[in-house]
Symmetry: D2
Subunit: 394 residues, 4 copies
């Protein structure tokens, strides 16, 4: 039993921490709202120059090739700035797309899309969720790709296709085999965004902020979009399987990023209460409710980190199926911890907390989705409970 | 004992309800973000034409002259749209300013500022909160007005001066008697916004949205602002007293508006769950957690309304001091109910909930301040508990 | 609109309050655990002598004949002592039995059981809940009464037959018409407890305390219990209807009693924190968390009272069906408020709180059932939500 | 990084688990209320025979000599039965007394008290808390030991001296140096319970249950109790230091025991919901709220275990001061998790949950103190927050 990070990764963690503190956090103010890849270019170049680019990207593609636990620890540190993952080439949805292109891509697909993606030379998006269908039930999907000669012709309506604005290509999940069993109906298909019929209807305003470029969530119409069948990623009917493989480690990544956010927010909160005067002598730090919240949040952040690292370690050492329950548990647990903490930090900041003068408002608005995307809390709870209760059925 | 609204006000309530449903809610979409008085003009004209203008404005100033309970009931109905109070001439901060101008204004002040304000011909703002000082401790105030001949010269830094953008005048709270006992140091002074030295530094971005016009919160520098002493509102040193008088009934108004918001959100949530399919047959309305939340929220909204009406009724029938505890209790209780409800409604909407495609996101962002302004929850709780515990001190 | 108690009842409330404070609370210590009717006799005699006996008992039966709101207000005051309702002849389950005997009893039944019950000369119990079947689903009932000549022969297994120990008779709910539609299968039958085959298996230990006499909850076997059919109370098949009629106002009574408990606990808590030293100078009353809890609990108790009185007033003035939702809401809302308050009061008392040296431990143990009996919270929430959502179904 | 229990301890854990399941749990029913050492004797003998006695007792005293992490893992398994620790010789307060006797005892003290204690031949108690003084402030202590010749003469009033009923000796904390700085005023003194003036006033009823023997909490008067100064344990004035040393690892032990309780309760709850029918076809396991609670509780129990093991591991590998915050955090975090879980398990059991027919009621009553003893939650939160905030003070 050993709760320390692996020795091998400690120097890297220190380096990442310093880079984030020295270069990323100071730059974030200007970039927070509606940044695009051009604005980040100098920071990304610096990151590459220091040998920190792509912590999770395979070495043969120019990254550091870290494992799940190691990248988790890095990811927490990147999460301390809203732009951290973008600077290091570890941002969603590119990271997940990169993973599945690496595993399932043909040589041609890899040359055309994977390699420039890994270098940060182009951007991508992932088009699965549909406004008319509940994301929690993947057998309800309307977007269809029918074969026509050697092509697919895709018709559908997607939203929350994050970063579609400016992406070079989308990986689209579409029903190709409507008569197959529910989980074998869909396939993944690569669609260059300049294909005729690909229409980015809008960047969806999230809590009033539509964002732009990377920091956006697109609503997309696919109207008779025609691509060669060779653009299909992986086997026909493997859409759900690939989506699941993409989401599993993705949950670890998300959770570790959220813990990074938690540490940033916790730090902001502690700093504020020790500086804010409530009368001529005392600061807000002397208030018992502030103290109680700080203690409770410290406990919950620590709990979160241990649970996520434990899940990551279990995946790496005992396989994904040994970690299935843990992965479901952390998804809702850590998201809940994060949102409660953000809310309390705002409350302790008073009027300042609701302004955009601190990073808190950004998180309050842009991380609220954490309890919803990739399955709302309530669905994850049902799934994990059913799995647990199976062991008790007679 | 009688829990029904007064008979006398029922026809008016019906009329208001219909007006809001038929004219206000349909118009809100276009107006929600950054509206100004011009955009609202046709609706306000219609409201006047139907004899509904100014429910809380005294009759001699052209309003309906409703009492606290009656206006509370109207205010709930206006609260069902984010623009309701603006359409009816009952919006903060003008409503509060109107009250204190009516009570304390000189004949000259009334002619110049109160009358056009009551007609909706000009707008106002209220400049009390300071970024450097906790709003919860009114004896910590830096903005100062020193006498110079027959003038005041005001220097200070204020923020959360709501609706300053476009206002004709501000009512500024400034220290005029620094050597008086703490609660007698400040006075209220009317400052036309075109006075030299009045500088609107910015509309403060709230959760990323700076708004404009009425729907904005200004940060203001007062740099050597010179106005005649005759612009002082009420007696010298009466600033805190007037602020308190303004805030007391203001809490009733806020709370009833919040209950209107709650009803709107509750209705939105119930409609959504009965329409959202979770599989081929069932809707989200069949889920036990959705049901539990609906039941819990219904209980808390009902509790909120009863508490606020009870407080309003007590003020009207037994005087403000008999209602002091109730007024503190409703401030934090109702704000808490509202924010929990909004959060749950978002959660039940899934991805749709965090978009601006429903009214929920607007409330999530723009009502978060309810638990902070006019005293954070934690301060109200301390105040009311100390008052209760005094009765137990030996 | 009028939030004051009816003028007519105020003198009575004062008198009851004084009687409880002067005579009931001082006596409760000795009686708290396992009291029986003999021990209460002197107090009950005094109560009768002062003309306070039977606030809810019809006048023709020797009581005060109060309506729902009036008795609710009295009941709150009785609730301030765990033995209050027993002293005044308003205790469950006798009060509910009295109601249905009064409404449905034959002349013979009234003479034999109702009249001595109203005078407090004998005791009764109500035998509905079965250990093998969920109380929340009344169509699942196993206890059966089959006709045999002019008799019923009853076989069944009941528990939570409160006060069976020492009762003269039970009102038993049993299936008489197994082939009728679900809600028309059962009837109410009066069973003298000395009938052969009536076996009180045990007083069920509640949290370790089995109690005795009135303060007990019996598990009962009915083994071939034979009674004349003339002992049936009300029409054949009317069991569920009568049970519902018994439970409806019963919820008002329970809730008002719980509010009385809340006031007692709140008072105990406030008294303790103002007396408990935390250092040489300060008491626990200066702690912000104690203050926050006191404020939050004050708000929730006030909310509870307003909700229950509103429900009672609605029943009296608009009929039960207008109050159906309110009655479901108060059941879980007030029970939740009470249990949270008790828990916090214990926490503020520290080690003293878990001892039986205050009344808190008694409530913690013996009121936990409030969130369960007469339908667990979760079932009430489902019921009320379904009713609300019906209005939204298209 | 390695989240697995040490390989070395796995066989022992399996053996302990089997012993608890096969021998301890089946016996607990008869022993649950008011057991004493005689009733446990056969089980203890069996435990010794299997070589499982005294997991935390040093090897030279006949135990297994486990370290903190190893014993923590064992302790969790013992915690699955309310009598587990008693059977294995690991029960409070003897375990803590054994530790300090081992570290501070003179040769004579060890021979007379430590050795028979380690063998389970006699019992002990620990007498620190005073009813008149807050346990959270150790500088407020009234019990005094004045020197008289070669003796101490002790006068004082203590309570929550657990297991005093039947103990051979008490370790009493008493002020010996009233003029020293606050933390150097008290000493630990061994008092045989048959010393004149040692008066066990009562076993304090906890939630109505006074218990007896081991399972009791004594209120004790020390009236002129005279013992030789050689009975002092450790240096003069070292009382607080020793108390702290006793409490630190004690928190790990408590927390791991609570996690054992959590697992027992979780298991009971899962078993119940999969067996309890809610209609002819479905069980309670199909209810979404039951599922949500199971998922949430699973997450919190897992979080608890990871946090406590991490704290224990840190103490063992980096020293106690590196773990100070963690130890404070787990005290309130795990106690809170346990009590919420117990409450929810009761709720899901319905009426059965409040009876003593399951183990739940025992825990509800007898573990409520967990949030209070050894410092109430609120005090631990203040302590840990102040420590954290020190790092932010400028």
């Amino acid at each position: 039993m050993n709760f320390d990070p692996p020795e091998s990764v400690k120097p890297l963690l220190d380096k990442v921490e310093r880079f984030v503190a020295d270069h990323v956090v100071p730059a974030e103010g200007a970039l927070l709202h509606g940044f695009d890849e051009k604005a980040l270019a100098p920071l990304r170049a610096k990151c590459k120059a220091e040998g920190l680019w792509g912590p999770q990207i395979p070495k043969e593609l120019g990254g550091l090739g870290l494992g799940l636990v190691e990248h988790g620890l890095v990811s927490e540190r990147l999460g301390r700035s809203p732009i951290g993952h973008f600077v290091f080439g570890a941002q969603a949805p590119d990271a997940g797309n990169l993973e599945i292109l690496h595993k399932y891509g043909s040589a041609e697909q890899k040359a055309r899309w994977l390699e420039p993606l890994a270098k940060g030379e182009l951007r991508s998006c992932f088009s699965m969720t549909e406004p008319e269908n509940p994301g929690s039930n993947p057998t309800l999907m309307s977007c269809a790709a029918r074969k026509d000669g050697s092509d697919y012709v895709i018709d559908g309506h997607k939203w929350f296709t994050s970063s579609a604005d400016g992406a070079a290509f989308a990986i689209v999940m579409a029903v190709t085999n409507p008569d197959a069993p529910p989980h074998g109906r869909a396939s993944m298909i690569i669609v260059p965004t300049d294909t005729k019929g690909f229409e980015l209807a809008r960047n969806i305003p999230i809590m009033g902020d539509a964002g732009k470029g990377w920091a956006s969530h697109g609503e997309i119409w696919y109207r008779g979009v025609r691509v060669p069948q060779s653009y299909r990623l992986g086997p026909e009917g493997a859409g759900f399987l690939i989506a699941q493989e993409r989401l599993g480690p993705g949950r670890i990544h998300h959770c570790m990023r959220w813990i990074g956010i938690c540490e940033r927010v916790f730090d902001t909160m502690c700093r504020h209460v020790t500086r804010r005067k409530i009368d001529d002598e005392k600061t807000l730090a002397t208030r018992q409710i502030a103290q109680a919240w700080i203690a409770e949040e410290r406990a919950e952040i620590d709990a979160s980190r241990l649970m996520v690292l434990n899940a990551a370690w279990t995946i790496e050492n005992k396989g994904f199926s040994a970690a299935r329950e843990s992965v479901s548990l952390i998804k809702f647990y850590v998201a809940g911890v994060m949102m409660r903490l953000i809310d309390r930090a705002i409350q302790l900041h008073g009027a300042l907390g609701i302004t955009s003068d601190t990073v808190l408002a950004h998180y309050y608005v842009h991380e609220r989705g954490a309890r919803i995307y990739d399955g709302p809390d309530e669905v994850h709870k049902m799934v994990v409970a059913k799995r647990i209760l199976q062991r008790y059925q007679q």
